[in-house]
Amino acid sequence: MKLIIATIKPFKLEEVREALTGIGVRGMMVTEIKGFGSQSGHTEIYRGAEYAVNFVPKVKLELVVPATMADQVVETITKTAQTGKIGDGKIFVLDVQQAVRVRTGETDADAI
């Protein structure tokens, strides 16, 4: 199984979720985060003092899928979350040793 971590622009969340459901993803974890990257760094003024905005609001998706499905998921996210503008985000893929569904105790393939 693979853990796919994707950080995208917040307004893309709903679209991505629908796309993923479309290809059979049945669950994920969503976290609101602050992203730092090339997009960051424009300066703002607050009460007359300049400061750099280093963090941009992003959403992070974490989902575990069968290894076989990983590429398709990565593709789907890439396609759907892309605006072509800087700050679209990143996708990372990691190995997962084991998965358990708390409700039933089912493991691995049956758990996700």
Partner: protein, 444 residues
Amino acid sequence: MNTLTKIALPVALTALPVMGLADEGPVAGVNASTDTVFILNSLLFLVGGFLVFFMAAGFAMLEAGLVRSKNVAMQLTKNMALFGLASIFYYLIGYNLMYPLGTWSVEGVLSGVWGPGILEAVGVTADAADDYGYASTGSDFFFQLMFCAATASIVSGTMAERVKLWPFLIFTVILTSVIYPWSASWKWGGGFLDAAGFLDFAGSTVVHSVGGWAALTGAIILGPRIGKYKDGRTVPMPGSNLTLATLGTFILWMGWFGFNGGSQLAMGTVGDVADVSRIFSNTNTAAAGGAIAALILTQIMYKKPDLTMVLNGALAGLVSITAEPLTPSLGMATIIGAVGGVIVVFAVPMLDKLKIDDVVGAIPVHLIAGIWGTLAVVLTNSDATIGAQLYGIVVVGAFTVVASTVVWFVIKMTMGLRVDEETEINGLDMAELGMEAYPEFTNG
């Protein structure tokens, strides 16, 4: 002590000595003295005025609570700025445009008095007072100014989350210096609508519908928020803070006692103060009727009550009773308000069907309930005719729609009305203000 507040005089007297009135001399006359009448009338304006002032805070909280947090700071900025501008431009142009005092450049249609409002001299004496038999000009100006500002506040909510700051403020300037005062002069300035027998006690039409019409034209010209209507469905965009929205509603409710009560315009006689008392009571019960009607109706229609509808319902009840808060009985006032609450529950989704995106529900509350309230005058006030009421509604509506449309379009053509897509998506706060209302909370 609170005992027997309703008992007849004698009893009251026997009760009073406790409070050390035993040795009071004989009463000096019956009516209040001319000075006292002048003072009490002015006092009504001052107290009513600061209550209506506070409605600005109510609008700000209601709107800040009903927009998404990425647009809250901008909404607050708009509310602060529009009140400031209304104060300045109503003084510069609006006040005299609204109250020609009989000096018309076009009889009954356009005031002949131009330029800023001028108050009585410091420490004015009875003989020098502008209207010794009535009230001080300063108190009247203060009170009327607040109505003008309220009109402007109505617009900001509907157009939230997508309209640019400065174009919106420019519209506010024209609304508060010309559109509102001019149309108001036709009724409250003693113009042709007043002559035609059109009745609008505290402004269901003169104030609320004007704001509502301006908001409606603005919303249509501006278009809905991105993603609000997707393949035929309405996508809810829940307000970020319903606690503040509720606070705003309570504040508006309180302010309305000044709005309607102060519109009695006099408190110096037994009849006037008793009328103001009727108005306070009717205003409160109409709001209650509106809130409860919306509560029950949403429970029935949706199986769950909708707090935002209850808030809108209370406000719709208030707008509904505003055209005639005096003559209805308490029961009738409750019903008039309740109908307002019902209107909101049906009008909100209806507007969405029409793809008219009204962020805070100002159009159902101020415009539609305002029309209802104006018509409802005929139910309890024998001086009102359905014809005259319709006449007033149509005239004011037509004028406001035309005037607003022209202004909105000119602004759209010249400087643009709407923020670009990316700004709207990321929120107006970051893009237009570079400042967040809740910088520490991690919102999407």
